[in-house]
């Protein structure tokens, strides 16, 4: 056999989806799967109607509302007419075009990036898109998954393709063993802290190494979810036995007669030995500690045992100015201990951390304890109705409620504060979401990104605290 050039997983999936090679890395790429939600789709459906166009493959689509659904009082009318109009538009569009639609009162309803994998819709080797940047989540299965704008949503609906330019290959290898008290969220934050929010721009990041292999499929989703916070449109993890076990028997998964062929194909997707990456980064997993963001960019991370950096820690003037602005917004001082930052509000949820494993991780810390008196509100928002149901079967809802948390209905919620779940100006939020941008959780709200266990611990203490102290006390 002739020697062939070793390929990366991204190279393989890309090559498998070329409809037309247009040279110099440009190609018309076939899209297998499309998730649609209420916020970035109405204008795309309008575009189709205006041009008298149809949807190429209705079977490739699941539509589900998530971004602005209320997380409580769902039996009452939605108080926000704009939100109602958008939710109604999704339902009407799904009906008109004959799409699989998961309604708000369906037990499967939830955040698109939780629902897709849960339904087995997300599979290794597919191209998967959604009008949401956190579509990178699905890369945890070895799917080439990325967020698109509304014009591209329309393009995929009409043509089942996208005109794309190939990205660069980047690999992030996490070596060693993840220490106790750390989770996939800390790995994600550690990587972003190391390479910066533009570190992956123009690249697809493949995550590799023993720490990644040891992560559960849920953990890999958390990690791939935040690829976009490192600037990369997509993240990838090679499919393995855990991936197959996760998918087996799910509604959209291959049926029994096709299963073996599918698994064989999935296992062929891993990067070849000797494949060349344009960028290769190594992170020492043994050194990862529970992290907290102090600023207004996900790269502004500090160990919970550490301090807000000093202005002089940054070399260039632009960074120094950005830091001063961030500190002013966050109401923090340079050199302040992270554990001295008070926490007013706690949010456990979002497409980053709202799966059953996240619920369990937080509940384990909370069990038998109470949130601090100073906490204004602590909410747990499961990622889907099915996650909620499973958590309730395990009694986790009771653990949270007994401790003083609220137990909500599934949706994006306070991650982006499109619905009534938001933080007030000046309030510090321990949040398991993905973005600590200015105003993201409400005008003036101060977001600190943490893992579910760290958010739970902060709720109990009323300030940031090393979750390992809680684990130590238990053992």
């Amino acid at each position: 056999m002739p020697q062939t050039k070793p390929l990366t997983m991204y190279d393989k999936i890309w090559a498998n989806h070329i409809v037309e090679d247009r040279g110099q890395g440009a190609a018309l790429i076939y899209i297998d799967r499309h998730l649609v939600h209420e916020v970035t789709s109405p204008q795309a459906f309008d575009g189709l109607r205006a041009a008298g166009r149809t949807i190429h493959s209705v079977d490739s689509i699941i539509a589900v509302p998530d971004h602005n659904v209320p997380t409580k009082n769902r039996d009452k009318p939605n108080p926000d007419p704009m939100s109602t109009a958008q939710l109604n538009a999704l339902e009407a569009n799904a009906k008109e075009f004959g799409l699989d639609y998961i309604a708000m009162d369906d037990v499967r309803q939830g955040i698109v990036h939780v629902v897709g994998p849960e339904q087995g819709f997300t599979q290794p080797g597919v191209t998967l898109v959604c009008g949401d940047s956190h579509t990178s989540t699905h890369g945890a299965f070895g799917a080439l998954a990325f967020g698109i704008g509304t014009s591209e949503v329309e393009h995929v609906l009409a043509t089942q393709t996208l005109q794309l330019n190939k990205s660069k290959n980047m690999r992030v290898t996490v070596t060693g063993v993840l220490p106790m008290g750390c989770s996939a969220k800390d790995v994600a934050l550690a990587i972003i802290g190391a390479i910066g929010t533009a570190g992956g721009t123009g690249s697809v990041i493949e995550y590799a190494g023993p720490v990644i292999e040891a992560l559960s499929v849920e953990g890999r989703m958390t990690l791939c979810n935040m690829s976009i916070e490192a600037g990369a449109r997509a993240g990838l993890v090679a499919p393995d036995g855990k991936t197959c076990d996760y998918l087996k028997g799910r509604p959209y998964a291959p049926t029994a007669d096709q299963w073996e062929t599918a698994v064989k194909y999935w296992k062929s997707l891993a990067s070849d030995d000797g494949a060349v990456f344009d960028k290769d980064i190594i992170i020492n997993g043994d050194q990862i500690v529970p992290l907290v963001t102090w600023g207004t960019s996900p790269e502004d991370v500090a160990p919970v045992t550490g301090f807000v950096p000093e202005i002089a820690d940054f070399a260039d003037r632009a960074k120094q100015e950005a830091m001063q602005k961030a500190l002013h917004y966050m109401g923090l001082k340079a050199g302040q201990a992270i554990t001295d930052i008070p926490v007013d509000r706690v949010f456990i949820g979002s497409c980053t951390n709202s799966r059953i494993e996240d619920m369990r991780e937080a509940a384990a810390i909370v069990k038998g304890r109470c949130i601090a008196d100073t906490i204004i509100e602590a909410i747990v928002v499961p990622g889907s109705g099915l996650v909620k149901l499973q958590a309730e079967k395990e009694g986790l809802d009771k653990v949270f409620l007994d401790a003083g948390f609220q137990w909500r209905e599934p949706g994006c919620s306070m991650c982006l504060a499109m619905n009534p779940d938001k933080a007030g100006a000046g309030e510090h939020v321990a949040s398991t979401s993905n973005r600590n941008f200015v105003g993201r959780q409400g005008p003036g709200a101060r977001t600190h990104l943490v893992s579910p266990a760290m958010a739970a611990a902060a709720a109990l203490a009323g300030h940031f605290v090393d979750v390992r102290d809680f684990l130590g006390a238990e053992s």
Partner: protein
């Protein structure tokens, strides 16, 4: 889509690094089902205080920069959410061109679809253009020969060829792709044999 060939205009300087799409248009204003009406909320936290009062001296409402069609921005502009409402909002403020050291991938793609030219230039050239913008000098951006000219400065920029053609011709991308539907159909037939589990029979 509006064609883009060249423009000459004064420019608004907003060189903040890592300007995310939540800054460009906050999520709470994404509830419209139309493509328009986002301009009044564009850069809300820069233009209005927490009580909704206009912040004096903000560059987006300053008389000095009125009529500017060019925005001089910071590194990693448009990072974060994929919302196309961001370029829609920017277009409604009157901008047709953004010059920055770098752009987030999804945002840059969204600009092309909306007839906005996103020009990448090295940091020091952007720094010089910020000063020129503050001094009220006119900047000329030509997509045809991929140049930015301001007083004595003359900068060349790199630009994706396919995107250039789309902008110059104001192409309807969906219409363009629909012309190769036979290729898409035949790809699909091939895939139905290779990965049959992805297709409902």
């Amino acid at each position: 889509m509006k064609k883009f060939k060249a423009i000459a205009s004064i420019a608004t300087p907003f060189p903040r690094a890592n300007t995310d799409t939540d800054i460009i248009i906050p999520a709470k204003h994404l509830k419209s089902i139309k493509r328009t009406g986002f301009g009044e909320y564009a850069f809300e936290s820069v233009r209005f205080d927490s009580k909704g009062k206009r912040i004096k001296g903000n560059v987006f409402d300053a008389e000095k920069y009125k009529g500017a069609k060019i925005l001089i921005a910071g590194d990693n502009f448009g990072c974060g959410s994929s919302r196309e409402h961001a370029p829609w909002a920017i277009a409604e403020l009157g901008f047709r061109c953004i010059i920055a050291p770098s752009f987030a991938d999804i945002f840059a793609g969204n600009c092309v679809k909306n007839g906005i030219l996103a020009v990448p230039l090295p940091q020091e050239q952007v720094d010089a253009l910020v000063l020129a913008a503050e001094a009220g000098h006119e900047i000329r951006v030509d997509l045809g020969d991929q140049t930015v000219i301001c007083q004595n400065a003359y900068y060349k920029f790199l630009f994706n060829l396919a995107h250039k053609k789309m902008l110059l011709d104001g192409l309807d991308e969906v219409g363009q792709t629909l012309q190769v539907m036979p290729a898409i159909d035949s790809y699909e037939e091939k895939q139905k044999l290779k990965t049959p589990w992805l297709f409902k029979s």
